[in-house]
C-alpha cells in the first residue's frame, strides 16, 4: 500500500536524497528552536553563569565608585561585548520595573568591570526575552534607587515612601508586614 508513495523516490535516487536532506534540516530547525526557547540568544557565548554544576562560574562584579556589588545570572558575549542577563524563569510579561532596576545595576557593574558600555541587557522571562536599552534614564533611575537605599541604611525613615499596595499580593513579607492579609 505504501509503495505508490515511495515510488518517486525509488525511481529517482536524487529525489530521495533531497527529501532526506530536507528531513535532516527540519530536525536541525526543531532542535534550534528548542534550544532558543530558553531565552538566551544562541549566537551569544555564555561567559559566566550564577548556578552550580556548570562551567564558567560567575564572579561578582564590584564597583568601588558606586559601592555596589552584583552577580548577573548569566553574562553572554555578543560581538566582543559582555551583556548581563537577568533570568526570571517563573515570571511572564509585562516587564516589571524592579527587574529593570536590577538589570540596570548589572549594566553599570558590567561597564565598570569590562570598561565597555553594554548597549543593552537581557531580561529573560518565561514567555519571552526583553532587550532593555542601557539608557541614561535607566542609569539615573538606578543611581536614584541606590542613593535612597544608602540613605535608608544610614537611618532615614522609609515611611516617607508610599506603600505600593498592588504589589502586596506577591510579596514574601505580606503576612508579617500586614497582619491578617
Amino acid at each position: 500500500m505504501r509503495l505508490p508513495i515511495l515510488a518517486p523516490f525509488l525511481l529517482s535516487p536524487r529525489l530521495a536524497l533531497a527529501a532526506l536532506a530536507s528531513l535532516v534540516l527540519l530536525v536541525w530547525l526543531g532542535v534550534f528552536l528548542y534550544a532558543r526557547s530558553t531565552g538566551l540568544p544562541i549566537s551569544a557565548r555564555i561567559v559566566a553563569v550564577d548556578q552550580r554544576g556548570w562551567s564558567a562560574p560567575a564572579r561578582p562584579y564590584t564597583s568601588m565608585r558606586y559601592h555596589l556589588v552584583g552577580r548577573p545570572d548569566y553574562v553572554v558575549s555578543v560581538r566582543g561585548r559582555e551583556i548581563p542577563v537577568e533570568a526570571k524563569p517563573t515570571r511572564r510579561g509585562p516587564v516589571r520595573p524592579w527587574d529593570v532596576v536590577q538589570l540596570g545595576a548589572y549594566l553599570l557593574l558590567t561597564e565598570e568591570a569590562t570598561h565597555q558600555q553594554p548597549r543593552y541587557g537581557l531580561l529573560v522571562y518565561r514567555d519571552r526575552t526583553y532587550r532593555i536599552r542601557n539608557s541614561r534614564r535607566l542609569q539615573r533611575t538606578v543611581l536614584q534607587a541606590l542613593a535612597q537605599v544608602q540613605a535608608a541604611r544610614a537611618g532615614q525613615a522609609i515611611e516617607r515612601y508610599p506603600l505600593p499596595r498592588a504589589r502586596c499580593a506577591t510579596c514574601g513579607y505580606r503576612r508579617r508586614c500586614r497582619p491578617g492579609f
Binding site: W28, A145, C177
Partner: protein, 86 residues
C-alpha cells in the same frame, strides 16, 4: 539572581536595589532587619533558576551535537548525490 550576604556588608547589591524598587518596606524587612521572606517562595525561585541553567546548557549541548550530525549527514548526502549522478 541573589547576591551573597557577605558582599553586601559594605556595598549595596543589585538584588537589594530590585527589592527597594519593588517596595521599600519589603527591602527593610529583608535587608535592614534581616528577616527571611517566605522560605517556600525563596526555595521555588532557587529551584527555577537552577532548572533554567540546566535547560540552557543541556539544550545548547544537544544543539551542538545535532549540528555536528547534520553537517556529517549533509556531507554524506552531497557525496551520494555526486555518486548517483555519475
Amino acid at each position: 539572581m541573589a547576591d551573597s550576604t557577605s558582599e553586601r556588608d559594605e556595598h549595596s547589591t543589585a538584588s537589594e536595589l530590585a527589592a527597594w524598587a519593588f517596595c521599600p518596606r519589603a527591602w527593610a524587612w529583608r535587608y535592614r532587619d534581616g528577616v527571611a521572606a517566605d522560605d517556600e517562595q525563596l526555595a521555588r525561585g532557587r529551584q527555577a533558576h537552577q532548572r533554567h541553567a540546566d535547560e540552557v546548557f543541556q539544550r545548547r549541548r544537544l544543539l551542538r551535537w545535532v549540528q555536528l550530525g547534520v553537517l556529517v549527514l549533509l556531507a554524506g548526502l552531497a557525496l551520494a548525490w555526486f555518486l548517483v549522478g555519475r
